[in-house]
Amino acid sequence: MAEQESKKPANETPLPFGSGYKLIGRNYATPDMIAKVTGTSRYAEDFRAEGMLFCRLALSQMPHGRIKSIDASKALAMPGVKAVFTANDIPEQADFLDDNGRTIKASKWGERALTNEPLYEGEPILAVAAVDELTCAEAIEKIKVDMEPLPFVIDPLDSLRPGGPNPRADGNVWERPKPPAPSAPVLTELKWTKEDFAEYDQGRLPMGEAPDTWKYGDLDAGFKNAALVLDESFLTPDVSHQCLEPRTAMAYWQNGKLYLHTGTQSTFQTVPAIARWMNMDPDKIVFISEYTGGGFGSKITGGVTMIIPALLSRKLNAPVMMRISREEEHFIGRARPSVLGRMKVGFAKDGRITALDMFTVTNAGSYDASGDGGSAARIVSLLYQPPAMRWRGVTVMTNTLPRSAQSAPGGMQGIAIMEPVLSKAARALGLDQVALRSVNCPEGKAEYGAPNASGKRAYSTSCFMRLALERGAEQFKWQERIAQPKRAGTKVRGVGVSLSCYVGGTIGFDGLLVITPEGRVRFHSGIGNLGTESVIDVHRAGAEVLGVPWEICDVVWGDTSRIMPFTCVSGGSQTTHAMTRAAYAVATEARQKLKEVASKALGGKPEEYEVADGRVFPKGGGAGLTFSQVAQKAIALGGIYDGHDAPTDVNKRTKSAVAALAGQGLVVAAKDKHPRDGDTYSFVASFAEVEVDVETGKYDLTDFLAYGDVGTVLHPAALGGQMLGRSTLGIAHAIGQKWVMDPEYGFTLAKRFYQNKPPTILDVPVDMQWAALNIPDPETPVGARGVGEPPVGGGCAAVLNALSDALGDEIFERCPVNADTILTSLEAGRPMQHPFMGSI
């Protein structure tokens, strides 16, 4: 199938945005826009409640230790101090049921809101509630914490060395048990031998025993037949999410119900997380999160610390606000794991990859196994289509900040490790950089990863990467740029191109809408308002299917008391795809219900009616019903029409939502059951130009283009925001966003924006460009795929490739690349920053 389908894309012709649609593909003012632009939108920190107390956290001053005793007597004696909470006040985490009804056991290594054995410097150990924050702070400074220091390790290779320290007593490496054992990773101990480390001093990543591995194809033959074999090691940086809104939370209780405010990526899906962490009934939780100041994977279902004000509020019978400072956000706000990678790649004379042997060591931080190494391998396998590939990976726990998914988790690292190898190969083989990528890029139903138990490999739903690469090269004037002279005075110019992709969608969620007696269409959105606008955008697809003007549509979001259907988490760029499908399903079902109600009211069969322009009427003309009349009729009919009965196939929580809306009009819920052949991915071709001053090492990114193959364009302005914003996130990894840690003490040194250096608007080109093919994905009814993550890896790698185009292959083996990297390496004629030393 893959072979047959791969010929299809060449015949596809992209369409202008919005072709054939009234709403899809067109810009509009989202209902949250004015509030965001004028600053009237209210985030968690903006809420106040009568009698509200404040709470603040005390963080561990050791990278690993055990609390022997806490003496809070002096703090508790202070006027205004209401409570001091420690780990002993936090409920044990409960087992829980996942979306598929499977029981997930609480992990014994799981993170809790407060701890008696901090595993990283900055982990919250206690919380103080008081009348104001100054009292909290003064109280915290009166608390005596007697802590026993325990061994710690911040560098994964140090932990893998013979006799190296473990981050906690029971091990240092996450291992996924082999089927049929439960799939949750377990912590084990793994040490490599002295012999394994022999290559370390030569700057090559040691490759000892790796618990995770897969392969396909004939690796030996691939290398044997190669015209060029490269073996390169590379380190990607640990990068904190640094959301502008820290994970501040406010909570109060009314009539036994918890009301909790905080920023989240996924409004609907955060309720079960709160329930799990609080060990309470989800039906007793009202969660409010109308606006979220960035998530990028760090707030997929909020953060575990949000239960602290909830618990304090319950105890103190008063609302409690827990503001999180910038420094605290650095510690508890999550980060992308660094990945040490080694790639042995065989190339044919035409640049086609013949074999790829990939090894990764992932620094997973202090809690939860990271899947970034495996994800990196899958993305590399999909994006560069090696005919034979092996991946071996080690995921190491360290006493560093907890990691989580960050935009294109693993994909970003895999692309950043792989792309410089491609650039080097093109130079060695005398090939054009775009041409080398063109011969390797995926197309159509492109296979990737390891074969499953029955020997079949997964494949993409559709892929027009090559077309995006060609169009992008044309728009970027690639040929003109590479023909220009590189050097002018002390400035050297370089251009780079990168392929990029990531997961672009899931399936099987529910849509929910109400056609009201006022004649309006109200969509209920369980999506978080995390800045991408998918919270609103996906419902444009529903309105399009219903054939109604957007002006009669309302979207309710951001507050679970407003009733929400079963919704995906907004992570993994799945929302646009998953929830346009759900919107399509519910709008299609609504059309059917409109016809049914009309036939019951006016006679005839449902199929004899049609729906258009906010009315349902007999085909061929005649008196029909307005939406308003249908809604009133639906209420009169009751049952399946007004929500007194729910469809049998929707999620049980959607059924509860339908019941809560019963009697409000024509209440329609539907599950996305549209078939899908393949896994959904989006693709981006990224182009960058840099100008390096070889006397100072300072460089500027002078031009950038991201060209997307992201399916049907749903909302151009929002898409552009994602294409450029997420490219910038990737660019940040290349140009300077980073950690600085002291390995002797296991302490973080860079904790503020001016020290971690996320890029500013002046660090990217003024006229940064984006474009998209707008070819529908054939496996989803609206054709739209997700786009948040796919541009990230390309943002980083296009800049790295532009730098090596300007400066050659002997400058860097790691990122970020800064003036210090460039100047010292230019002086020495070889890379001077050791590839395995992170956080400098």
Binding site: R56, S325, E695, L749, T760, M832
Partner: protein
């Protein structure tokens, strides 16, 4: 004791209206008083609860310390004049552009609107150990955490280390040294005027402070003599980001040329040592020589003689060599402040028509 950051401690806030009143308050409270200018440095210390003064003397209401006055011999800049005002002042731009350029590259527009010239030269170092509350030499302890085999010292000193390897972070300081500026200090004993380079203190003299101000002292003005007005200037700042960043290094020079020959010169660098460094050896070596690439190269090599790199800052040696070279031969035209990009940024606003 448990630790918490980001909550400002309680203190007594004193807001004098005149320099004399400020002086009196400082004298009265001695070591208990903290002098605050724009607050960019002060609020970091206070919010981190690392410094907990009993009394904070806020100079923002002292009008007489604000503004730029032309004098019979140049200009006098009040210590509380904002960096934005200094950068935009026509006389500074015309006669002392090296200073305008230097302050125009400080931090970000917002910080320059609030930050003052007096504060910029009097700010504390940004060593991340010291600012993080580590009990180092400078904080009264007996170790330098940055100067260990694994200490993180990418942004630290290659000159002038004495137990402490922190660097002076000011962008305006080298420009003021190049202009031979005089710092006017009011103290209980009266007013004194010191040369710019003598305002700064290295760890060999006092490891706990970066300048000569003692409790009770107040920097009230900076005078720039006309000596170097309209000279050939050079300023360059190298930083990681294009805005909102301290210098990895900066260089400032003022040169008097006669037929391409260097008649006189003053040159200084910062972020190289615990205090801004005037490069007198370089000045002496290039006087009388042509302002060309060869002299620049010689000057650069001379400038870095004796530099001692740490584990992660060896790049500062070629960087200093090249910046000093450029300051002499002017081969690389100076940067423009990032404010110049603001008009370009306006182009990024999506035209209304796109929102149809």
């Amino acid at each position: 004791m448990a630790v918490i950051r980001d909550v400002m401690p309680a203190f007594e806030l004193l807001q004098p209206n005149s320099a004399a009143e400020a002086q009196k308050l400082l004298e009265q409270h001695g070591e208990d008083a903290w002098v605050m200018a724009g607050g960019l440095d002060s609020f970091d210390w206070l919010k981190d609860r690392i410094k907990k003064p009993k009394v904070l003397v806020d100079l923002s209401g002292v009008e007489e310390l604000k503004g730029i006055r032309t004098t019979s011999d140049g200009v006098e800049i009040g210590a509380m004049t904002t960096l934005t005002e200094v950068a935009n002042h026509p006389v500074i731009q015309r006669d002392y552009s090296v200073l305008g350029e230097a302050v125009g590259l400080v931090a970000s527009p917002q910080i320059r609107n609030q930050g003052t010239l007096g504060g910029n030269v009097s700010q504390d170092t940004r060593c991340w150990y010291y600012r993080g509350g580590w009990p180092c030499y400078r904080a009264g302890g007996n170790i330098c955490y940055a100067d260990t085999p694994v200490g993180r010292n990418r942004e630290h000193a290659i000159f002038g280390a004495d137990r402490c390897v922190a660097v002076h972070p000011s962008d305006s300081a080298p420009a003021l040294i190049a202009l031979d500026a005089k710092f006017v200090i009011q103290s209980p004993k009266g007013e004194r005027v010191v040369d710019a380079e003598d305002y700064f203190v290295g760890p060999e003299l006092d490891i706990t402070r970066l300048n000569i101000l003692r409790p009770g002292d107040l920097l009230i003005a900076i005078r720039i003599p006309a000596t170097w007005a309209g000279a050939k200037f050079y300023f360059e700042k190298v930083r990681d980001r294009n805005v909102w960043d301290f210098p990895l290094m900066n260089v400032a020079s003022a040169m008097k040329l006669s037929g391409g020959t260097i008649g006189d010169i003053r040159i200084a660098v910062s972020a190289v040592a615990p205090k801004p460094m005037r490069l007198k050896v370089v000045e002496d070596a290039v006087r009388g020589k042509p302002a060309n690439a060869e002299t620049g190269k010689m000057a650069g090599e001379l400038a870095v003689r004796g530099a001692v790199p740490l584990q992660f800052n060896a790049y500062k040696i070629p960087l200093m060599r090249n910046l000093v070279k450029r300051a002499i031969d002017g081969a690389q035209s100076s940067q423009h402040a990032e404010t110049g990009s603001a008009s370009q940024l306006q182009d990024r606003v999506v035209p209304e028509a796109a929102w149809s």
